[in-house]
Amino acid sequence: MSQPIQVHVKLFARLREELGTGDLTLALPPGSTAADALDQLAAQGEPWQQLKGDRPVMLAINQAMAKPVNSLQDGDELALFPPVTGG
């Protein structure tokens, strides 16, 4: 079996506050998608389960907006955040 990939997870705004961290590193099987990363995080129990809850979670991979089906590569930056409210 091949080596797990490392993904750098960044959290912002309400998610950063409620999850108590803004940065973490996740080890995932090769070929994992953003949805797999969310599943693994949510499996840690409260408060992480909210990542699979009703409130929308936006995704960016390497600072470009992404969808749960998008796959992850070793070293990718995966950001999770609530819908934006700037301007």
């Binding site: 960044k10 912002f12 705004a13 309400r14 950063r16 960016a60 600072q63 470009a64 907006m65 950001a79 955040f81 609530p82 819908p83 934006v84 409210t85 700037g86 301007g87």
Partner: protein, 165 residues
């Protein structure tokens, strides 16, 4: 959302600033005027902190952003505007950190030979920024703090640019 690094860094130097410091409309306007050869039109938009109505007694906002992605997204919006309209210079400034009621949050300035292009590009960038640039507002009150939720009207306003023109 991707282009050659050389273009991206040139545009970042010219057109986008994310900063805690306040900005001066007169300075930004004068620069747009000076750097535009034959501009006939300069449209500006400035957003100010107001009570968004989610809570009572709001005294200000705290603005968080995603450094790096913010500049990339706004530069991409500026590039899109250059493709859609005949415009000359664009300047976008967005403040982050703690801002009190009445303070300036955001500036978009566009110069063009023609006023319709200046207006359209300015409004497009502002509408799109509100729904795609990674900024988050938290309302600050004496009773506590509260993250502002995205407004459906902002999404509708930004989507109109996909349909018309």
């Amino acid at each position: 959302m991707s282009w050659p690094c050389s273009l991206r860094s040139r545009e970042a130097d010219m057109g986008v600033r994310v900063q805690t410091a306040d900005f001066d409309l007169a300075t930004e306007y004068q620069r747009l005027r000076d750097e535009s050869g034959q501009a006939g039109a300069i449209a500006t938009f400035t957003g100010l902190v107001r009570d968004y109505g989610d809570l009572q007694d709001v005294r200000g906002l705290f603005l968080e952003h995603y450094p790096g992605m913010t500049e990339t997204v706004i530069n991409d919006l500026i590039q899109q505007a250059h493709k859609r309209w005949h415009i000359q210079q664009v300047q976008v400034i967005h403040r982050v950190g703690e801002l009190l009621l009445g303070e300036q949050i955001v500036f978009v300035g566009v110069s063009s030979a023609h006023r319709t292009d200046a207006f359209a590009a300015c409004q497009f960038i502002m509408d799109a920024l509100k729904t795609s640039a990674p900024f988050w507002k938290k309302e600050l009150t004496d009773a506590g703090e509260h993250w502002v939720e995205q407004r459906a009207t902002d999404l509708i306003q930004a989507q109109q640019w996909d349909q018309d023109d």
